[in-house]
Subunit: 266 residues, 3 copies
C-alpha cells in the first residue's frame, strides 16, 4: 500500500494531539505521542476544551474512565474539532459493559460524527447492533465476521472504522485494509489500544486520507510490538515489553512500515 | 502452608478485577493485574459501578485520592459486590491523615463489610482505635504489636486483615499467617501497596479461603520484590526496579511460592 | 555556587511533599520524589487539603489537568501552606493556552503568593504580559530575553522564578542563577517539568534559600537527564530514558552536583 511518508511528516510537523482520555493509560498516551514525534495535550474541563481543540491538529475521545459529568465536554470538544475540519478519533472503551458507556458512545457518534471509530470486535458489534457478549473491556468475540461488521458500521456512521484483533480491519465502507502485524504481548500490558488512538490521531493530522493513515498507524503499533518482543531477553516480561514498545516508536519510520508492514487492501 | 495452585487458577480463569482506585498508581495496578494473568477494569462513575461489579470477579476499593463526591460510588459498588458473594478488598490509604479519609474508611467498613482490609500498621491502628501518629501515608509505627492489633480488627470487622510491614500479618481472627518475604526496595517506588490489592483480589477471586489467598498474594509481592532487586545491576535503581517487579509477576508461579515463600502460620 | 548539602538533607529528613497535580504525570512525580529521598502525598479534595498541607513540608500546585471545580482547593491549600511558612511551588502548565488556565494562574499568584513559580518561557511571559504565542504546553519562544522576563516576574510577585529552557534561569529579582545542564531527551518524555516541581519542593523544604534550592534542583534534573542519556544503548529510546532518569535520581548526591553542575550566578 502506498503510504506517503506519513511518519516523516509527523516528525516534521509535530502536530499537537488533544486527548480527552482515561486516567489509567494517559501517561502512556502522552509518552507514545512524543516518541512518535507529535506533541500531546491532555485537557478535559468543559471550560477549556474548545480552546484546546482550536490550537490542536487532532482530537482523541476515549471513554475508558468516563464520568457522567464529563459527557458534555466530550461532545463539545468533538463538535468543535469537526467544525474546524480536524480529525476526531473515538474509542468507545467498554461500550456494552454498562448502559452509561453505551449511551455515551451513541451520543458521541450521533452528535460529533467522529472521523475514526476504533474498537475491538465486541465494542464495534455493540455500536452496530446495540448488544454484545462482553467480558469487561477485552473482546472474546470471534473475529470471523469482523470485516463485514466494520464495513456496516462505516457505512452507517460515515467514519473510518478500525476493528482490532488478530487481524485488524480498517474500512471507510468502500475500501478495506487488513493489517496482520502484532503480537499477543500487546494484550499483556494495559493501554495499547489507547496508545493506538494517539498514533492514529497523529497520522490523520498530517494525512487526510484517514483510511490510509489509520492503516499505517495500526501497522506501526503491530510492528513496534513485534520489535519490542524480539528484543526481550530471558526473565524479561511485560514490564520490560512496555518500555521497549515506547523505544520502538521512538525509532519507527516509514521505511520500516514499507518493509515490515503487513497491510493488505482486501 | 498448603496453597492449592492459586496462581495457576488465576492464569487459567483470568478473573476480571474491578478497581475503584487512586489515579497515582492505577496504571501500575492494571499492568500488574495483567502480568499476574487476571484482567483489570477501572470504573468509578456511580452510574456504572454496579454493572461493572456484576461482570467482575472481585472488587478493589482504594481511597488513595478520594474525593467527597465519590464516596457514594465506593459504598454502592462495595455493597453490590458483597451481595453477589464477590470478594471486596479495601485499602484505607492514609486513613488517619485526614478526617475525610477516616470518615470514609469507617463508612466503608460499616456499610460494605469488606472481605479483606489491607493497610500498614498506622492505618490498621487508626481503624481500630480511631487515632494514630501518621506521617502522611507511610507508617512509622512499630510493628511489634502488629499481630495483636490485626487480630482485634479482624474480630471486630469479620474481615481478613492484612497488616503490611517488615513482617506482614494476615489474620481472620482465628488463624494468623506471618509473611516475611520482601525487600526495602518495595518502599522506594510508589504503588506496591496498591498493586498488592490487585494481587490479593485476583487470588481471592479464585480461592474463597481469603486468609490463604491473601497470604499467597502477600508472599508473591515479597518474592517478586526480591527477584526484581536481585537482578539489579550497577547504576540501576528504583526506576529499573519498578519494571522488573512487573516482569517478576509475569513469571511468578505456585512453585516459586512453595519454594521461596516464607509464610508461617503462627 | 555553595549549595549546603541539600540532597543529603533531603535523604536524611525525607520531607513529605504534598502534590495537587495533574493525572498525566502524577505517578512519575511520586516515583521521582521517592527516588530523591523525599516522600510524596497526592491529595486534591477540598475537604482534606488543609490537613494534608499541615503534615507536609512543602506543597506543589500544578494546573496541568485543571478542572474549574478544583480551583478552590488549589487556593485553599496554597494559602494554608504559606500561612504555615511552608514553600509552595506553582507550575502554571499551559497558561496562555486557555482562558481558564490564565485565570487560575492569576488567582493562584494573587491569592496564594507562591514561593516559587516555575514555567517555560511562554508561560512565564504570559504571566507577566498576559499574552503569548503558545503551541499547546511547549514553549517555542526565544530564550534570549528569558533572563530579563524572569527578573521582572520575580520582582512583581516576590517569588523565586524558574524559567526553563536550553539555559534555565532562576531568580529572586536580585540574584540570578543560570543553569546549563540538561539534554534535549528531557523533552522527549512527558512530565520532566512536573517532576522538576517535586525536586524543587523537596530541596526548598530542607533549605529555605529558595533560589539556591531551586537552582540545585534544576541542575539535578539536567545532570540526571545527561546521565540517563549517556547510558542509552543502541535501540534504546525515550522509553528506556524515562526509567533511567528515575534511576539517576536514585543515585544523585551533592558531590555530583558540585562536580557536574553548571550553575552560574550571573
Amino acid at each position: 500500500m502506498k503510504q506517503n511518508n506519513i511518519i516523516k511528516k509527523v516528525r516534521e510537523e509535530s502536530p499537537l494531539i488533544h486527548h480527552i482520555t482515561n486516567y489509567v493509560t494517559v501517561n502512556d498516551c502522552a509518552n507514545i505521542t512524543l516518541a512518535f514525534g507529535a506533541s500531546p495535550v491532555m485537557a478535559h474541563c468543559i471550560d477549556e476544551v474548545e480552546e484546546m481543540v482550536s490550537i490542536s491538529s487532532a482530537l482523541v475521545l476515549n471513554i475508558g474512565t468516563i464520568q457522567s459529568s464529563s459527557i458534555e465536554a466530550f461532545i463539545k470538544a468533538g463538535k468543535k474539532a469537526i467544525s474546524l475540519g480536524k480529525p476526531v478519533i473515538f474509542d468507545p472503551v467498554g461500550c456494552g459493559a454498562s448502559k452509561l458507556r453505551s449511551d455515551v458512545s451513541k451520543a458521541i457518534i450521533n452528535e460529533v460524527k467522529p472521523s475514526v471509530i476504533k474498537g475491538n470486535m465486541a465494542e464495534i458489534k455493540h455500536l452496530l447492533f446495540n448488544k454484545s457478549n462482553m467480558k469487561g473491556v477485552d473482546s472474546e468475540e470471534s473475529m470471523k465476521d469482523a470485516e463485514k461488521i466494520s464495513v456496516e458500521l462505516a457505512l452507517k456512521t460515515n467514519a473510518v472504522v478500525v476493528t482490532t484483533g488478530k487481524v485488524d480491519y480498517i474500512t471507510d465502507g468502500k475500501r478495506i485494509a487488513a493489517v496482520s502485524n502484532g503480537t499477543s504481548m500487546l494484550s499483556k500490558i494495559t493501554g495499547t489500544g489507547c496508545m493506538l488512538n494517539s498514533i492514529i490521531a497523529s497520522c490523520c493530522s498530517v494525512n487526510n486520507d484517514y483510511l490510509v493513515s489509520s492503516a499505517v498507524a495500526t501497522s506501526a503499533m503491530g510492528i513496534c510490538g513485534e520489535t519490542a518482543e524480539k528484543n526481550l531477553n530471558i526473565n524479561e516480561g511485560s514490564g520490560t515489553f512496555r518500555y521497549r514498545l515506547i523505544d520502538a516508536f521512538y525509532f519507527i519510520d516509514d521505511e520500516k512500515i514499507n518493509k515490515s508492514g503487513r497491510i493488505k487492501i482486501v
